[in-house]
Symmetry: C2
Subunit: 380 residues, 2 copies
């Protein structure tokens, strides 16, 4: 028997009570069975997003909401800034290309956070830039970009919107769209929301809705305005992913009970213990600065293959973590600590890494990483 531990940065584990809630008999989406659920979930999402604006719900992966944040607000030929500091930052550029948007890509070395001053420079030189697109947490590198500072810059440009992909950030650490000035804030179901993949969410500011009126990019299935109009009637433009929304109702209740600040404190503690534990075992973190509290990217030690670490964690420990993507393949491995995660998930991850690397011939001292994590948990 080998027990399984899902410690990858999405999908993340779904709490058993949520799994069972979603296993209830199907109900009809255009019926009085479903509309009170939509109503509760809409309210709960505003609380989670810390916004007074409607939070749209789409039956799609997070990429659907990323596309929608471009196609619903821009016209072919429009110019935007995108921050490319990893696989998901790169995706902004690809979507822009598909929609005929002129994306100026700010290239950031993978593992580093963008310098907000670069964005300020671009906007000063060219106020015709219609939007700035960035990740709050770049899943591929484990780096958090400073969206608060960037929001403070973009805020001064009345015709430029600020779009944040918080797919692996929302519900992990504090992001305040209304207070800071984030015009579109995106997340997905399978990360801190502890649900199966299949739902994407987006909050939209008044500034962005004004841009929506003139936006000429093609869109139909991912039409944000149509979703907003339907949401006001506690329904959706097209058939919603009913079972996932029922799971969301349960998740939002659980999170509200814990309290949003407590959720952030928990994630911060788990992330800190993971980082310190890995360093305690002699490993080096991949991010040069600003590590994300959602996922920790660790460098494979010199002479060790990161994919082998990933593979052995799965095969001998039952732990599904993540390897590196694209040119980081083999160079790093990643451990998630977001969503349905507590201190013993972190202990399990560090212990698994210790045993696997020891077996591979690494020289670190067994238990030294776990000890460091325990000290963090005990505030020693």
């Amino acid at each position: 028997m080998i027990k399984k531990y899902l410690l990858a940065p999405g999908p993340t584990p779904v709490p058993p009570e949520v799994l069972l809630r979603m296993a209830h008999p199907m109900i009809h989406h255009r019926s009085p069975d479903f509309s009170p659920i939509m109503e509760e979930v809409s309210e709960g999402l505003k609380w989670l997003f810390q916004t007074r604006h409607d939070v749209l719900i789409m039956a799609s992966s997070g990429t659907g909401a990323m596309e929608g944040s471009i196609s619903n607000f821009l016209s072919p030929g429009d110019k935007v800034l995108t921050v490319n500091g990893g696989k998901f930052g790169e995706r902004w550029g690809k979507i822009c290309k598909a929609f005929g948007i002129n994306a100026i890509e700010i290239m950031v070395e993978w593992g580093e956070a963008v310098d907000p001053a670069i964005i300020a420079d671009h906007l000063k030189k060219d106020p015709s830039i219609k939007g700035v697109y960035v990740q709050a947490s770049e899943t591929s590198t484990g780096v958090a970009h400073d969206v608060k500072s960037i929001a403070g810059i973009v805020k001064n440009y009345p015709d430029t919107m600020f779009v944040v992909d918080a797919i692996t950030a929302l519900g992990v650490f504090d992001i305040r769209p209304d207070e800071w000035g984030i015009d579109i804030l995106i997340t997905g179901s399978q990360k801190a929301l502890m649900l199966p993949p299949g739902l994407a969410f987006a909050s939209v500011s008044d500034k962005a809705w004004k841009m929506n009126e003139r936006a000429k990019c093609s869109r139909f299935y991912l039409d944000f305005k149509k979703e907003r109009d339907n949401l006001k009637k506690n329904t959706s433009a097209y058939t919603p992913a009913v079972s996932l929304i029922i799971g969301l109702q349960q998740v939002l209740r659980t999170l509200r009970e814990e309290g949003l600040q407590n959720v952030f404190v928990r994630h911060s503690l788990l992330a800190n213990a993971t980082r310190e534990g890995m360093k305690g075992f002699g490993l080096e973190l991949f991010p040069k600065s600003s590590p994300s509290d959602a996922v920790t990217a660790v460098k494979a030690p010199e002479g060790f293959d990161g994919q082998q670490i990933y593979k052995r964690l799965r095969e001998s420990c039952g732990i599904t973590a993540a390897g590196g993507q694209d040119h980081l393949k083999g160079k790093i491995f990643r451990i998630s600590h977001m969503g349905y995660c507590d201190k013993f998930d972190v202990i399990t991850a560090i212990s698994g890494v210790e045993m696997v690397l020891k077996e591979m011939g690494y020289s670190g001292e067994l238990g030294s990483g776990v000890r460091r994590a325990e000290e963090i948990f005990l505030i020693l």
Copy 2:
């Protein structure tokens, strides 16, 4: 206590064993846990679709696949034929408009099937028409269009593709894309596939893939070619709706055990008993011809409000059926008999309608509809 019966044309009931299968712990989509599931599901979908072509899987509602069947194969300014004989036929025109496609809408009175000769005439006059878009089963009216005959016509035009929305048809009655010449065949998860909403599917012929090479409409999230390339590696372009695909694995096993022809025979029998039962109680069917085996649309008797029938079925019988949409609201009600449905679901529906209409003052004889349905089931 009131027991609940879901007899609406989607979402349809999900079998308990499928609900429980989907309640298993989450697994990672880019891992050896998931790829064998994708492999099995891909094979099973080819069997279900009766095609040798890949069947793409999208995390979206059926409308996502409808959009993709336009955006992946056409360029702005292209001319197509769409059959508008109901709410879903009308949607083709709306999607075309959103993508700058010139749609010639063939208007068919709601409740009637399109005359294939009209399509033949259009194509003869204008062979520059790039595609013909139609529903196999128009859910809003309960009418089945004759897609076999239309396929036989479109087949003769090498630069025209034939696209069929079989969202409430596939797995209900026989549709043979390769044999008949359907270039794109679409379905969704929440109908005959007995799953929660959130997945859309599309098979694509070689003729359509050739058109894909020149198609210039904007697309990113619903990029069919990217999905095909990933499907060959038993994965998906973006995070798939893992739990629904796991449910699909279970559903396909169940359907294969029953056998495809038996599935069709079952649906045909249930549909026939529903139609005859309603007539046996003195009611009139809405379709003038070619009723669909997926859903039966029944006219509210003269002087009775269809929405009241729908409402009373829900409130006093626990039966969620469907009312009429748009201008049919109040004029009809609809009973589904697709998916996880057997003869006592049909008996329940007819009995519920008998009791509700009797209470509303209708003159029909109680039990006369049920009697007629029983005769059909006993082949009397």
